[in-house]
Every structure is written in structure tokens, then in C-alpha cells.
């Protein structure tokens, strides 16, 4: 009972906030909107923590198998007696972990935003959207039904659209929002068909039924289409949806552009929560991915490819938020890599726990990085690292937390990132090739993060564009508090025995790693940091030198491997230019032309027949006579039997 109360409280608070702010906020709640939303969120976050405590320690005993629980369910839409969509709240380790992550980070971002967007005209709308997003994300993670996932999946997408396009006066923001939505929509097309396939092959959209009727899943594996079983097709297509949301290659192009949104939004949506939805999806449907062999391989490969690709691109970017965005993509790639490994079966527990653990820790330190970057951007009024430098004196707290986060993401013990990433690498240990690549990603991560760190806080101070303003007291509080909380979380989260909380099938899996396994990743990270320090700690010619060394490869990476251009070519030239234009042309000229031609033709006939009506009496009589004659002939030739 208590769990139901908490769970409903978690989800309904942001919903209430959205409704109130959305309907009345504009006129009645000008400045208090932020605080109202924050208050609601804090209730929600508190409830999430209470629920976690209740679930892990009251309902279940830690260290034993975790029993999934359903606190709430109602029939939303029935297609037929056996196929229906229920909405409800499903609690297990995974969803409770996500509830905690989402509500906590969201609370902090709310708090941060109260100050950060103070000067915005559409302050209330912003918080309404933020609440909508939080609600959708919370609804997503507790789904009981494939269609519920899809439902909230789309709502998350639209709130992301709204928030990216928050500064809609800027054309770049509009097009970025559109791009994000359309690309994820394209992915969701696959997701939807995947849902249909999976739902039908296992005769239900309900997750419980889906997992329980593994026999159906097995049976479905026997029937092949283009050489693949239904469940493979289904999981692959659903993964397409996940890959779109999680900005995996080749559907990642929207994420860097999405940085057009306000920085707190980037922290919440495009770093900590929404973009990991793909990881969550695969984890949630893990039993299905386990039975679909090919899909697991695809997930692994896509994850690692994206991770590497993003890491390489991140090394060349100069926009602070874009670097962070590519870093996000890279880290999510790692998570999916871990999950894919787990689904392949060899290192089932390690991969699964590692990826979820990384998801959790990443949520905090990436949010921290973004929020800290937000402070920096606020300070220098620019996203470009060339406008920054030497900020460690003016922004000491920011500098400190940024450093902690960088260390964490690079995997330096004893910060949280170390533990989670270590677990993923542990899972990959049996595949030397992949392990090597993962190490490379790890080293690159350390390099580009510290490149960013040095360029921002060390290096040569850029000329300030305007007189630096001293932070006000409220700014100190609103910025400082979230940063400190997140930094603490970043520092200590690693010590959570994560495998006891979230693990496949709810069976606890304590992670054990030997010291030997620690060394390579830490070494790689330290190498990366060292190179970054060598190149960027002080202003020098070394970076240019380095770039020259890599030559064409550098410029291709700087241009993000021309993937954007390729997409632009396909959409603008082919879809719009060829297909759309010809469809519109055909419709006007051919189909509608036929209609108009028919009318014209009748008119012409009419004109043609005019001469028949000549006005000559004898002509009339002639036709009279001929008509009679012809009819007589026809009738005489015709025999009725």
C-alpha cells in the first residue's frame, strides 16, 4: 500500500505541475512557477527515495532475490479481448533505480533552472515543459506494457522537442528541435513495428506475459522471415527505436544539435535521462534480447562503434556543450556495448549490471558536467572554448566539481565512474578485440574530457567579452547546491553495491574484480589525461601540431565524418526534391489533371455538337428522317430471341 502511494506520488506530482503551470501559469504564476515546480519535484524525489528504501529494504531483503511488484494498473485500450494496452506501474530493481535517478536529477535541474532561466520571458512554460518531461520519463520507466513504453517514449520525445526549441526565435533552435524529433521519429517507426511483431509473436503486449510466455517466444523463433525469426526482427526493430533515442550511430546526428536547448535541459534530458532510454529499453526487455541472438550482436557492435566514433569526434570539437554531447553518446555506447555482451550470454551478469551501473553513475556526473558548463557559459556568454580559459580562479567551485566529474568519467578511482566502467570492461574481458577497443574509448574519453577541462579552466585566459558579473546570493545557492549534491553523488556512488539492487532476473550479483583488471583501464585513462595536460594545460602550438599529424583524419573527424551532410543530401535532395516534389506534381498534373481534362473534354464535345443544331429546318427534318430510318434498320436487324 505504501509503495502504491509513493509510486503514484512520484508520477503525479510532475503531472500536476505540468497541468497547473500549463493551464494557469502564464497569467497567474509568473515568478513563482519555478519554485512551485521545484517544490513538486522535491516531493516527487523524496517519494522516490522512500519508495526505493521501501522496495529494497521492506518489501525485499537486500542480497536476496528481488520480487517484481505491480502497484497499479488499469485498462487503457483494448484492441481485442486478448490484445490490450494496460497502463500501470511496475516496480523492480531497474525501474526503482531509474525512478530515483530521474527524480533526483530532475529536482536538481529544476532548482538550478530557477536561477538560470530567471530572465526568460517564458519562464513558466519552461517549467511546464520540464515537468511534462519528468512525468513522461517517470511514466516510461515504470511501464507494464510495450505500448505504455511507446506512449511515454513519444511524450518524452515531444517534451524534448519543446525544450530544445525553447528559444524558438532562433532558427537554429527550431531546426535542431525538428531534427531531433524527426530522427527519433524515424527510429520510432522501427520501434512501433517491432512492438507489433513482438506483441503478436508472443500474443500479448503485456511485459509480464511477454516474459512469462517464453515458450511462445521460443516457438516464434522457429518461423523465419528473410532468414530471421520474428523475435529477432522484433527486437532489432525495437532496438532501432532505442538507438534513435539514445543517439547511437547512425541515428546520432540530432544529439549535438540538441545542445541548442537551455543548458539545464541538456543536463537533464540529453545527458542524464532521456538519452539513456535506449539502454533502459534493452535492459527492460532483456529476456527478449537474450533469446534473440543476432540482436545481441548488433547491440554490441552498434554500441561500441558509436562509442568510438563519438569519442573521436569529441576530441576535435570546440563547443563545450557539443563535446559533452559526444561524450554522452560515447558513454551510452559503452552501456549498450555492455548490455549487448550480457545478452550474448557469456558475461550475462557483469554486462548487465555494469551497463546499468554506468547508466546510474553517468546520470549524475554528466548532469554535473552540464550544469557546471552552464555556469561557465553563463559567465562568458559563449559556448566556444576559445572564449574560455583560466577560469579556475574566477569560478573555484565550478572548477572543483568539474574536475571531480572529469575524473569520474575518465574512470579514476575511487570516483563512481571508475566502478561502473570497470564492470563493463570486466564483461568484455573475454573478447580481447572488443576489450582493446573499449580501452581505446576509455583513453580517448579521458583525453577529450581533460582537453576540455584544461581549455576551460587553465590555458590562456580569453579576453572577457563583457565585464564579468559577480554571482548574486541566490545564484550561489541555486547553482551551488545542485553542483555540490551532484559532486558528492559522483564521488560516492561508486561504493553502492549496485549488483545487489539491479541485476538480471532480480538475482543479486556482487561484482568482484581483481586488481589486475583495474590496471589497464586506469592506465589508459591516465595516459589520456597526460596527453591532454601536455597539449592543453598551457597555451601552445602543440594541438595544431597534433592535428596536423592526423591530417585528413582530423578534418574528417572535425566534420563529424560527413554524416550530417549525407543525411541532408538524402532528405533534401532525394525525399523532398525527388519523391515529394514528384508526388505533389503528379497529384496536381496527372491525377487532378485527369479530372480537369474530363471536364474539358466534355466541354469540347459540347462545342463540337453545336453545329448539329444548325438552325436549318431541313437539316432537322433530315436528321429526323435518318434517325427514323436508322432505328428501323437496327430494329429489323435485331431479333429479340
Amino acid at each position: 500500500m505504501a509503495a502504491t502511494g509513493y509510486a503514484l506520488l512520484i508520477v503525479l506530482m510532475p503531472l500536476a505541475g505540468f497541468v497547473v503551470l500549463g493551464l494557469a501559469g502564464r497569467h497567474h504564476l509568473k515568478r513563482s512557477a519555478g519554485w512551485l515546480a521545484t517544490a513538486l519535484m522535491s516531493v516527487s524525489a523524496a517519494a522516490a527515495l522512500l519508495l526505493a528504501w521501501h522496495y529494497f529494504f521492506v518489501q525485499n531483503a537486500l542480497g536476496r532475490s528481488l520480487e517484481p511488484a505491480e502497484v497499479f494498473r488499469f485498462r487503457w485500450l483494448s484492441f481485442s479481448p486478448s490484445l490490450y494496452v494496460d497502463m500501470g506501474m511496475h516496480l523492480d530493481g531497474l525501474s526503482v533505480m531509474m525512478l530515483v535517478l530521474v527524480s533526483t536529477v530532475s529536482l536538481l535541474v529544476h532548482l538550478y533552472s530557477v536561477e538560470y532561466l530567471r530572465s526568460e520571458e517564458r519562464y513558466t512554460s519552461y517549467f511546464a515543459f520540464l515537468q511534462l518531461f519528468t512525468f513522461s520519463m517517470l511514466g516510461l520507466v515504470v511501464s507494464v506494457n510495450l505500448f505504455q513504453i511507446y506512449f511515454f517514449w513519444e511524450l518524452v520525445g515531444v517534451s524534448s522537442y519543446l525544450l530544445i526549441g525553447f528559444h524558438y526565435e532562433r532558427p537554429s533552435a527550431v531546426s535542431a528541435a525538428k531534427k531531433a524529433f524527426v530522427v527519433t521519429r524515424f527510429a520510432d517507426f522501427g520501434f512501433l513495428i517491432g512492438i507489433l511483431i513482438v506483441g503478436f509473436s508472443s500474443t500479448s503486449f503485456d511485459l509480464n506475459t511477454l516474459f512469462q510466455t517464453n515458450c511462445h517466444v521460443d516457438a516464434a523463433r522457429e518461423e523465419l522471415f528473410l532468414g530471421m525469426s520474428a523475435i529477432t526482427w522484433g527486437t532489432l526493430l525495437m532496438f532501432m527505436g532505442g538507438a534513435g533515442k539514445s543517439a547511437m550511430f547512425p541515428l546520432h546526428i540530432w544529439l549535438p544539435d540538441a545542445m541548442e536547448g537551455p543548458t539545464p535541459v541538456s543536463a537533464l534530458i540529453h545527458a542524464a535521462t532521456m538519452v539513456v532510454a535506449g539502454v533502459f529499453l534493452v535492459a527492460r526487455l532483456f529476456p527478449l534480447y537474450e533469446v534473440a541472438w543476432l540482436t545481441a550482436d548488433v547491440v554490441t557492435v552498434i554500441g561500441l562503434t558509436s562509442s568510438l566514433l563519438a569519442a573521436i569526434i569529441a576530441c576535435t570539437q570546440t563547443d563545450i556543450k557539443r563535446v559533452l554531447a559526444y561524450s554522452t553518446m560515447s558513454q551510452i555506447g559503452l552501456m549498450l556495448f555492455g548490455l549487448g555482451l550480457a545478452a550474448q550470454g557469456a558475461s550475462r551478469e557483469a554486462g548487465y549490471v555494469g551497463s546499468q551501473f554506468h547508466l546510474f553513475t553517468h546520470g549524475f556526473f554528466k548532469a554535473l558536467l552540464f550544469l557546471a558548463a552552464g555556469v561557465v557559459i553563463h559567465r562568458v556568454h559563449s559556448n566556444e572554448v576559445s572564449d574560455m580559459g583560466g577560469l579556475r580562479r574566477t569560478l573555484p567551485l565550478t572548477h572543483l566539481v568539474f574536475l571531480i566529474a572529469c575524473l569520474a568519467i575518465s574512470g579514476i578511482p575511487p570516483l563512481s565512474g571508475f566502478f561502473s566502467k570497470e564492470t563493463i570492461l570486466l564483461a568484455a574481458a573475454s573478447h580481447p578485440f572488443w576489450y582493446g577497443l573499449a580501452l581505446l574509448v576509455s583513453a580517448l574519453t579521458a583525453f577529450y574530457m581533460f582537453r576540455l577541462y584544461f581549455l576551460t579552466f587553465w590555458n590562456k585566459p580569453a579576453l572577457p567579452k563583457s565585464e564579468p558579473e559577480l554571482p548574486t546570493a541566490s545564484e550561489r545557492l541555486a547553482y551551488g547546491f545542485p553542483l555540490v549534491v551532484l559532486a558528492v553523488a559522483t564521488a560516492v556512488n561508486g561504493f553502492i553495491p549496485f549488483g545487489l539492487f539491479v541485476a538480471p532476473d532480480g538475482r543479486p550479483y556482487p561484482v568482484h574484480a581483481s586488481a589486475a583488471a583495474w590496471l589497464p583501464p586506469v592506465g589508459a585513462a591516465l595516459c589520456g589525461i597526460a596527453v591532454a595536460a601536455w597539449g592543453y594545460a598551457r597555451a601552445s602550438e602543440r594541438p595544431q601540431e597534433l592535428a596536423r599529424r592526423f591530417g585528413a583524419f582530423y578534418s574528417v573527424a572535425y566534420r563529424k565524418f560527413y554524416i550530417d551532410e549525407l543525411y541532408a543530401y538524402i532528405t533534401r535532395r532525394i525525399i523532398f526534391g525527388k519523391v515529394g516534389r514528384s508526388a505533389a506534381w503528379t497529384d496536381r498534373q496527372v491525377v487532378d489533371g485527369a479530372v480537369n481534362q474530363a471536364g474539358w473534354l466534355i466541354q469540347q464535345w459540347s462545342l463540337l455538337m453545336k453545329c448539329w443544331q444548325s438552325g436549318r429546318l431541313q437539316g432537322y427534318a433530315f436528321w429526323f428522317f435518318v434517325g427514323a430510318g436508322l432505328l428501323a434498320v437496327v430494329l429489323l436487324l435485331y431479333s429479340p430471341n
Binding site: 444548325s614 438552325g615 436549318r616 431541313q618
Partner: protein
């Protein structure tokens, strides 16, 4: 029967001559005469059939009588109208009355 055939052929001849005249003559009055020829052909047919084929009753004969009467009425009316037309157009040529067309 020979008489009947002869009469029928004559009647048809009258009828078709009437048709031909109606279709080719320019003068309205000649056209009227042609129409009368057509009527007479029909009347002759009726009388002949009555006399030689169905002599029991006099249906054909009666109809022929009425045809003659009606033809007279028609002719009277037509002449009146043609007179009117002549007043208005100074012509009794059929090719001149083509103002109403299309």
C-alpha cells in the same frame, strides 16, 4: 391484290416524294405541299388497305377523311404564319430562317 400493290407503291412514292421535297425545296410553301404529299401517301395507304385488305370496317377510311380535314387546317395555319414571317423578314425562303440556332 395487284391493285393493292399498285396503290401501295403509289402511296409510298407519294410519301417519299413528299419527304424528298420537304428536305430539298427552299420555298416554305413548297415544303408545305411536300408535307401534304406525305400525308396523302399515308391516306392513300389507309384507304387501300381498308378497301382491299380489311373491308369489314371503315377505320382506315375514316382516318383518311380526318387526315384531309386536318391537313386543311394545318395548311391554313401555316399560311398565316408564313405571311407573318414574310411581314417580318420579307422572305419565304427556308434558308433565311436560321436566326435561332446553336
Amino acid at each position: 391484290m395487284d391493285v393493292l400493290n399498285f396503290l401501295l407503291i403509289t402511296a409510298s412514292g407519294l410519301f417519299f416524294i413528299g419527304v424528298y421535297g420537304f428536305l430539298t425545296r427552299r420555298n416554305l410553301l413548297t415544303m408545305l405541299i411536300s408535307a401534304e404529299l406525305m400525308l396523302n401517301g399515308a391516306a392513300l395507304n389507309l384507304v387501300a388497305f381498308n378497301r382491299y385488305r380489311w373491308p369489314e370496317e371503315l377505320d382506315g377510311l375514316f382516318l383518311a377523311v380526318f387526315i384531309v380535314a386536318i391537313a386543311a387546317a394545318e395548311a391554313a395555319l401555316l399560311i398565316a404564319i408564313v405571311l407573318r414571317l414574310y411581314r417580318n423578314t420579307r422572305s419565304v425562303d427556308v434558308s433565311d430562317i436560321t436566326e435561332l440556332k446553336h
